[in-house]
């Protein structure tokens, strides 16, 4: 075990996989010589050299196209898209090419590739550098989509993603980069598609993702201590595959579901989960399914405004108390 930051866990995972598999290569803007603009990839160029760790021009279509072409011919590329907002300039390669080509070719292709990206708000970067876009990916059949909330999962899920035979979009929450945790040394693989139950309680199930996980945990503590409400908190972690088994089990037991999303309101994973439960667990429900989300707005830059709109413990507590009343 070592105390690693979420940021450091990124490089740790990539290094671990590059050591065990020659076919793993890594490309992106400023990821090599500079070690990444979020300082997530320091040391990799030094250890693995220019052949495997490569800086690119500002050409996101070329970056992902190159990764796709490499993946279909035997490599296991990891590509960095610096901010997830920039998926919009290369979405065709992801959504139309990578995601569909296995299917269209009747399984002739596999795309064992990972696209990492800094996602989410909290840094006062404004509307074009703060989006939570894991939902864009979840909407597209053929992709796997994960978004860890802690350093150990960053390492374990990134290793799993690199080994996975499918294209994985790996969303790193930029406001979590500084958070630290004990992380197992050496081999540490967290299988994709397993949610983590972080806390158990019989009154309500709170499902959260990425930066919303610590906020949901804080809310759960407050609910317990101030309202006598016992919440189960589930870190969804993996949107595709989605661990409906774990989540449904909990909702069946508590009869109540609250989802906590950072993304804007419409068509998020919370809506998907809510509609799944409304269809499959309807008779187990004891009350409405409540989504706590950022409102359906672009994100403002000013610190007080950004804090205003993002879901925090207070809004979660309010939603839950209303529900259990």
């Amino acid at each position: 075990m070592a105390l690693l930051s979420y940021r450091e866990a990124v490089a740790a995972a990539i290094a671990h996989e590059m050591r065990r598999d020659e076919s793993v290569v890594f490309l992106g803007e400023d990821i090599a010589a500079a070690g990444g603009v979020f300082k997530t990839t320091g040391g990799l160029l030094e250890e693995f050299g220019e052949k495997r760790v490569r800086d690119t021009p500002i050409s996101e279509q070329a970056i992902l196209g190159a990764a796709m072409g490499a993946a279909m011919t035997g490599l296991r590329p990891i590509a960095e898209i610096m901010f997830s907002d920039f998926f919009a300039v290369c979405w065709d390669i992801i959504a139309n090419q990578v995601a569909k080509s296995r299917y269209m070719t009747d399984g002739q292709f596999a795309f064992p590739m990972v696209v990492r990206s800094a996602n989410g708000a909290g840094s006062r970067f404004g509307a074009q550098h703060s989006q939570s876009l894991e939902n864009w990916a979840m909407m597209v059949p053929g992709l796997k989509v994960v978004a860890p909330s802690c350093a150990a999962d960053v390492k374990g899920m990134l290793c799993a993603a690199i080994r996975d035979p499918d294209p994985v979009l790996f969303f790193e929450q930029k406001s979590l980069y500084g958070t630290k945790q004990e992380v197992p040394d050496g081999e540490h693989v967290v299988p994709l598609g397993k949610a983590a139950v972080l806390r158990e309680g019989g009154d309500v199930t709170i499902a959260a993702l990425a930066a919303m996980v610590p906020r949901a945990m804080a809310a759960a503590e407050q609910l317990a201590s101030e309202h006598g409400v016992q919440a189960t908190v589930i870190d969804v972690r993996s949107l595709v595959p989605l661990d409906t088994t774990t989540i449904f089990e909990s909702v069946s037991a508590t009869g109540r579901l609250v989802t906590v999303e950072e993304n804007p309101r419409l068509c998020g994973w919370g809506a998907e989960l809510s509609s799944l439960v409304a269809e499959e667990l309807f008779w187990d429900l004891e009350g409405p399914i409540v989504r706590v989300t950022t409102p359906h707005i672009p994100l403002p830059a000013a610190d007080n405004l950004e804090d205003e709109v993002l879901p925090g413990p207070a809004r979660i507590v309010e939603a839950v108390t209303k529900l259990v009343d």
């Binding site: 196209g65 190159a66 065709d92 090419q97 296995r102 269209m104 070719t105 002739q108």
Partner: protein, 330 residues
């Protein structure tokens, strides 16, 4: 490489490849008229010399990347005719059992690394395959075909720059057939030769050739491939050609002046090459025999495809992910 260096076997092979392309697409057209091809299809009738010249110059393990107008480029790599027709017709014997359709012919086994239907997308992908070959040290090259209209989309620019700075073994082949769909290319392009006039923007030599001269295409291809294999990096080749028919299945191509069409049909790459062969002493029967062989192969493939059933419905639900399934939940 001079004229002499192309041996007679290769010359006949070039003819045969072109003839196969021509007749297979002609058959595809007929099948479409019989309503046996359900979706869209984009024929390269008239443009066969480009596919054939490159196909003949490539090694078996090289990579082809092509577009929706990719039947020819797929066929010249050795893919079976019944698999191609079957795919167009949505039959079980299709190359991808009907899951892809005419615009997405793919045969990894033959190095046909996909046909791409969104303009420009495959240029960076081809660069990526070339990067992989370079990384693995396999001497493979990637050849990427696209049209004149494609030179105006962003991905073209990104891929070219990328391929040059990484010195990748990839050859970008622009088939300039003068039209992006129904629009004359010169109406929407800032330079006269959409690819060649942009080569210098990537420190590449401009290469502009007659794409209807199959031997010239073959020589140009061979040189570019040799360069790439020798680690000397990418090439951008503009081959001027023309499609005899419309852009896609339903298009009669009426936006083109009659004289223009006639002039290009007079420069049919098959007729020209046949004349050259005869001039070089190949007897007409040899050529006629090739024609006959091709026709009978196509007839046979047609029957096979027609006899093939529709794909089983279960395959609609597999291969979304690598586990063979469609399940996104645990």
């Amino acid at each position: 490489m001079t004229d002499q260096q192309i041996n007679s076997e290769t010359r006949l092979r070039l003819y045969r490849l072109m003839r196969e392309c021509r007749e297979l697409e002609q058959r595809a057209y007929d099948l479409f008229m019989q309503n046996l091809v359900k979706g869209t299809s984009h024929l390269g009738l008239g443009q066969e010399a480009v596919a054939a010249g490159f196909g003949a110059a490539m090694n078996a393990d090289d990579y082809t990347f092509c577009t929706y107008r990719g039947h020819n480029h797929t066929l010249v790599r050795g893919v079976a005719m019944d698999a191609i027709l079957g795919e167009l017709m949505g039959r079980e014997c299709g190359l991808m059992r009907g899951k892809g359709g005419s615009m997405h012919l793919t045969s990894v086994e033959h190095g046909v690394m996909g046909s791409y239907a969104i303009i420009g997308a495959h240029l960076p992908v081809a660069a990526g395959a070339a990067w992989s070959a370079q990384y693995r040290g396999t001497q493979q090259v990637a050849v990427c075909f696209f049209g004149d209209g494609t030179t105006n989309i962003g991905a073209f620019h990104e891929a070219l720059n990328f391929a040059v700075i990484w010195n990748l073994p990839v050859i970008f082949v622009c088939e300039n057939n003068k039209y992006m769909e129904y629009t004359p290319i010169e109406a929407v392009t800032a330079v006269a030769n959409p690819a060649a006039d942009r080569a210098s923007a990537y420190s590449l030599d401009p290469i502009l050739i007659d794409g209807n001269d199959v031997e010239l295409v073959y020589r140009t291809a061979s040189e570019a491939i040799a360069r790439a294999r020798a680690g000397k990096g990418p090439s951008l080749i503009e081959a001027q050609t023309y499609r005899h028919g419309g852009h896609s299945r339903a298009d009669p191509g009426k936006y083109r002046p009659d004289e223009e069409v006639a002039a290009w049909k007079a420069r049919d790459p098959l007729d020209a090459h046949r004349a050259k062969l005869v001039e070089a002493g190949v007897d007409e029967e040899t050529i006629d025999l090739i024609d006959a062989q091709v026709m009978s192969a196509i007839d046979e493939a047609t029957e096979t495809a027609k006899a093939s059933p529709p794909p089983p419905r279960e395959i609609a639900y597999i291969d979304v992910w690598a586990d063979g399934g469609v399940e996104w939940r645990c």
